[in-house]
Each structure stands twice: as structure tokens, then as C-alpha cells.
């Protein structure tokens, strides 16, 4: 049976990510991925540059430890279709990271 709840490993990595974001890691939170072409470009960069590299995933993905609102649309992880509610986990294949519901990234989609 696949994992559904957050594991100790997830919790530890989530804490590490939270510290990096709180510590001022500069990520490419803007511009947001407004069009599908931009989404494809960012995902392409993740595939090319960020495999196995946590910092690059956070930077290229544009992670923030708070919700970004743009064009009257709030973009928290918790409403993103890649978010697993019970595991608090981003399931986008190029990211696959534990997150918090109020975080955000520029690949958000509903």
C-alpha cells in the first residue's frame, strides 16, 4: 500500500526546506507560470538542472513559505492539484517534495 501520511523522512526534509526558505533562499517566485509554455519551460529546467538538487528545485520552482496571490487568485499548495492532502506532499514528478499547505510555488495549478 503506498504511503499516505507524512513519514519521519518527509517531516525532516520539510523542516530543512522551511529553514532554507526562512533563511532567505532566493527563489524564482516571479514571474509566475502564466501560460502552458512557461510551465513547460520551467519543468524542462527542473529536468535538466535540478535532479537530485534540493536547492535548485526550490529556486527554479519558485518556492515561498507563504501563499502568493496573483490576479485575485490565491496559489497555496493546499489547493494545487499536485498536493497530497494527507501526506502534505507535492507530487509533481519533477519536484516530489514534502510541503506545508500554506506554501506556494510558481507551478501551482488547480
Amino acid at each position: 500500500m503506498p504511503q499516505t501520511g507524512s513519514t519521519p523522512g518527509d517531516d525532516a526534509l520539510r523542516k530543512t526546506i522551511a529553514e532554507k526558505l526562512a533563511g532567505g533562499l532566493q527563489t524564482e517566485a516571479f514571474p509566475r507560470a502564466e501560460t502552458s509554455e512557461m510551465v513547460n519551460e520551467i519543468v524542462g529546467r527542473l529536468r535538466a538542472e535540478a535532479v537530485g538538487d534540493l536547492d535548485k528545485k526550490l529556486i527554479i520552482g519558485g518556492f515561498t513559505d507563504h501563499t502568493i496571490e496573483i490576479d485575485d487568485i490565491e496559489q497555496p499548495c493546499e489547493t494545487c492539484m499536485y498536493y497530497l492532502v494527507h501526506r502534505k506532499f507535492c507530487e509533481l514528478p519533477e519536484l516530489m517534495l514534502p510541503v506545508e499547505p500554506e506554501w506556494s510555488c510558481r507551478l501551482w495549478r488547480i
Binding site: 503506498p2 490576479d71 487568485i73 495549478r109
Partner: protein
């Protein structure tokens, strides 16, 4: 006895292959049980050359009564409107199509190419292809907007790439058995009995659609294919999940997104790179929402559904 003639224009023969796999009823049942006399069909006809031409001419003159004319593939007009790129029996196919449609009691277009142009008519449409009575969404096509066959019906469109075999044989039976007048057609002249519900109707992934859990890779049994992989099931009219393919499956059941192949715009976005098998979004919101749902409602519904999703919705529950 109902005489049926089947010709192909700009086609890959996929609809003929589909037709030959029909089960309820089968292609053989049409002949043995429902009194359909197949005058000629590209993959079944025994005649060649002048003998085929003779059949066509007799149908046009009325010497042979043409009850059902089936056309598969586009009507090709290139070059310069002559149709010379698709010659058949000594003249452009488009000329045969016009004359045979005028002679037929019923005209049935099978597959996207014959209905609205399909893949050959995708921009830049080098063969100047069109369907019998539509070019994509625009009514008109090769026969013109006002065409009706001798029965009084316009072209009966059975779209799909290919059309499901049983959609084809069941409509042919209805027409051959004198119940053609009972057919009700939608705005794109598709039989409503098949094309009123959605591909999503009966989809085994509806629970995941409801709880907004996404499939993130082909073949995954968990999740809905709409959110990321470009599935058009919620806005495509077809019974693909009611009348199953090979009587046991469908694209979405196999983990493959619906491509919307029964809609006039197929293939969507002119097959531009990055548009196939990928949900197109604007600022994270799908460009094409489920039919009848607006953006505001979609966002409210999905946020609430996501929040309420049970743990099992995030698991692969299809344990073998």
C-alpha cells in the same frame, strides 16, 4: 434488403478497421441478420477497376438503388479546388461523392475526417480537406450547409478517430431497418443516442475527479487525467465509457487521456508542441473547463473538494 456502398477519401482506413471489429452487431450480422447488401467496400469488395466504376455509375443512374452511402476520410479539394490529388475510378473522388450523395437515401459520414476534416484538415491543411457537411465547427463542407439526402436527413455524422465500431453498425442497422427517421441528431448532426453524454460519463476515475487527485504519469491507475495530462473527458461528447472498446476498456480506464476525438475541433490546438497530453492553463487554471462550469465555480469546487478528500483517494485502490 438495403444496398450499402462505402468509399474512402483522404483516409487512413482506421474506420474500416474499426468497423470490421464490430460486435453488437458485427459486420457479418449486418449481412446475415439485417439484410444489408454491401455493394462495395474498399477492404471487402471483390471488384476492381472498371467493375467498381460500373457499380458507382449504376448507383448514380438509379439502376441500382443506393440506400446507404457511407463515406470515410476527407473530401480532398487540392490542388486549386480540383480534387485531383485524390482520384478514384478515373475522376476526382470529390465528384463521385457529390453524385453518390445526391443519389443516396441516407448518407453516413464515419470518423472525424469525413465528418469535419479531422487530422488532414489541421492547419495548414495542405490537401484542402473538408468533411462532408462541416469543416471543423463551420457548417458547409463539401456538400453545403443545406444538403439533405433523399430521406430528408442531412449527413449522419459518426465521429471519432476512429469511430467505435458498434456506433457504426448500430446506426447502419437503424437506417437499414427503416428506423432512420427515428434518429435525432445534435447540432453537429451526431446521433443523440451516442453523443449526448460525456466521455467522463462512466469513467472509473470519477472519484478522483471529484476529490481532485491528479494522475501524474501515463498508465497510473490512481487519479484523474483531466488536471494534468490533458484529458478532455469532461467536455467531450461520446459514450466511450458506456459502450466500451473491445467490450472491456476505454482510453481513460487504461490510463490514457481522452483526446476529444468526437468533437469538431479535434485535434485540438492544431497539435502545437506542448499541447498534446498536457492540460493547457492560464495562471494555473485550465483553459478548457468541464462543460457548463465557470472559472469561479470551478475554483471554489475544486478547493473545497481537495480539502475534503479522504486518504484513500490518494492511494492506488485498484489492488490486483
Amino acid at each position: 434488403m438495403a444496398n450499402l456502398l462505402w468509399l474512402q477519401g483522404g483516409a487512413c482506413s482506421g474506420n474500416t478497421m474499426s468497423f470490421l471489429n464490430a460486435e453488437e452487431p458485427s459486420a457479418c450480422d449486418l449481412v446475415t441478420d439485417f439484410g444489408i447488401n454491401v455493394l462495395w467496400q474498399p477492404s471487402l469488395g471483390l471488384e476492381l477497376g472498371d467493375n467498381v466504376k460500373s457499380i458507382l455509375e449504376k448507383c448514380i443512374s438509379g439502376e441500382i438503388q443506393l440506400d446507404i452511402f457511407v463515406f470515410e476520410g476527407t473530401v480532398i479539394n487540392a490542388p486549386d479546388g480540383t480534387g485531383e490529388w485524390n482520384r478514384f475510378c478515373g475522376e476526382p473522388m470529390k465528384n463521385w461523392v457529390k453524385k453518390l450523395c445526391d443519389a443516396a437515401q441516407y448518407v453516413v459520414a464515419i470518423g472525424d475526417c469525413a465528418t469535419w476534416g479531422g487530422i488532414p484538415a489541421t492547419a495548414p491543411n495542405p490537401s484542402d480537406s473538408e468533411g462532408l457537411q462541416f469543416l471543423k465547427r463551420a457548417k458547409g463542407g463539401a456538400l453545403g450547409e443545406n444538403f439533405v439526402s433523399k430521406s430528408g436527413l442531412p449527413v449522419i455524422n459518426i465521429p471519432g478517430c476512429p469511430a467505435h465500431p458498434d456506433w457504426v453498425t448500430q446506426i447502419l442497422v437503424a437506417v437499414a431497418s427503416g428506423r432512420g427517421g427515428d434518429l435525432t441528431l445534435d447540432e453537429f448532426q451526431r446521433p443523440k443516442t451516442f453523443f449526448s453524454s460525456f466521455t467522463q460519463t462512466g469513467c472509473t476515475r470519477n472519484m478522483h475527479f471529484a476529490y481532485k487527485v491528479s494522475t501524474t504519469a501515463f498508465g497510473q491507475r490512481k487519479g484523474c487525467l483531466f488536471y494534468d495530462l490533458g484529458c478532455r473527458g469532461p467536455m467531450t461528447h461520446s459514450p466511450c465509457n458506456r459502450i466500451l472498446w473491445n467490450r472491456q476498456s476505454s482510453k481513460t480506464r487504461a490510463g490514457m487521456p481522452c483526446l476529444g476525438c468526437t468533437e469538431p475541433e479535434f485535434p485540438f490546438f492544431d497539435l502545437a508542441p506542448g499541447t498534446v497530453f498536457k492540460t493547457q492553463t492560464v495562471m494555473g487554471v485550465p483553459k478548457d473547463l468541464p462543460t457548463g462550469v465557470d472559472k469561479k465555480g470551478y475554483m471554489k469546487l475544486t478547493a473545497a473538494a481537495k480539502n475534503a478528500s479522504p486518504a484513500w483517494a490518494e492511494e492506488d485502490i485498484f489492488v490486483v
